[in-house]
């Protein structure tokens, strides 16, 4: 279980509606704005913006609904994305660049190239992905602030 310090470091919690292609990306933009206001380093902001954007697109594309939460502690920013949805059958396969189960509506939006999860992993210092078939998916991504 996460400790109290971690839970208290919750900076923002955002609801994401599945299949809402019109507003896709709005949560990521909001998170980026709030990090800019806090004066976070630009490279850190870009990493978090890409991670949250990809996570948001994934929830919209594949899940019924979900939440994206951001925790800020002195040494790291943690993003947690939880969704209610079909889950991921084979996580290793889903992480392969180019593997995708996206439909036409997702591709029209400019996504579904099978780059999302590997991209999140690339920009994360710590990356955890777990899923339960028929229930949903949990993603945790940590971006360290101490330049590692």
């Amino acid at each position: 279980m996460p400790d109290d310090d971690y839970l208290e470091s919750l900076e923002g919690s955002y609801y994401v509606q599945g299949r809402d292609f019109v507003d896709a990306g709005i949560v990521s933009s909001e998170i980026k704005k709030s990090l800019k206001e806090k004066g976070m380093p630009e490279d850190i902001i870009r990493k978090v913006a890409v991670i949250t954007f990809e996570a948001e697109i994934n929830i919209i594309s594949y899940a019924e609904q979900g939440t994206i939460q951001m925790f800020i502690r002195p040494d790291a920013i943690t993003i947690e994305a939880n969704d209610v949805g079909p889950g991921i059958e084979d996580i290793e396969l889903a992480l392969q660049e180019g593997y995708s189960t996206a439909d036409e509506s997702i591709r029209e939006m400019g996504f579904g190239a099978g780059m999302g999860l590997s991209n999140i992993k690339k920009f994360s210092d710590v990356f955890e992905l777990t899923s339960e078939i028929g229930k949903g998916t949990h993603l945790k991504s940590v971006v360290k602030l101490n330049g590692q």
Partner: protein
């Protein structure tokens, strides 16, 4: 080169960002696939794309991309323009296809923001 020079080279219209035409652009990335933009593009570059939906603007915003050039004369929605204004991303619009747009800019000295994909394993967004 300045954004105003890019406008002139490509007979482009400035849709958003009349006040940012002095912006210096030295690199660019061309793609219609935002997944690839998020994976490979770098901050400060010009995004050349035929995708004129809100996600193109939000992608540019996430990566601190300097400006977007919409090519192939793609029609622009009010929502696209509204979000670009809100997020402060200049939008240029040209009828040139992507190949012509890239070629003309490359000829004038604009280079790719990276040259090859995955050439160096890089955990940081430069």
């Amino acid at each position: 080169m300045k954004l105003s020079e890019i406008r002139d080279i490509l007979d482009a219209r400035v849709i958003v960002g009349e006040d940012k035409l002095d912006l210096e652009i030295t690199t660019a990335f061309g793609a219609d696939l935002m997944s690839d933009v998020l994976a490979f593009a770098r901050s400060g570059c010009l995004l050349i794309t035929g995708l004129s939906n809100p996600q193109a603007v939000r992608t540019a915003y996430a990566l601190d991309i300097a400006a977007i050039l919409v090519c192939r004369g793609k029609s622009l929605t009010d929502k696209f323009i509204e979000i670009a204004k809100e997020l402060g991303i200049p939008i240029l619009w040209t009828r040139y296809i992507m190949f012509e747009s890239c070629g003309k800019l490359f000829q004038e000295g604009v280079t790719g923001c990276i040259r090859k994909a995955n050439e160096v394993e890089d955990k940081h967004i430069a």
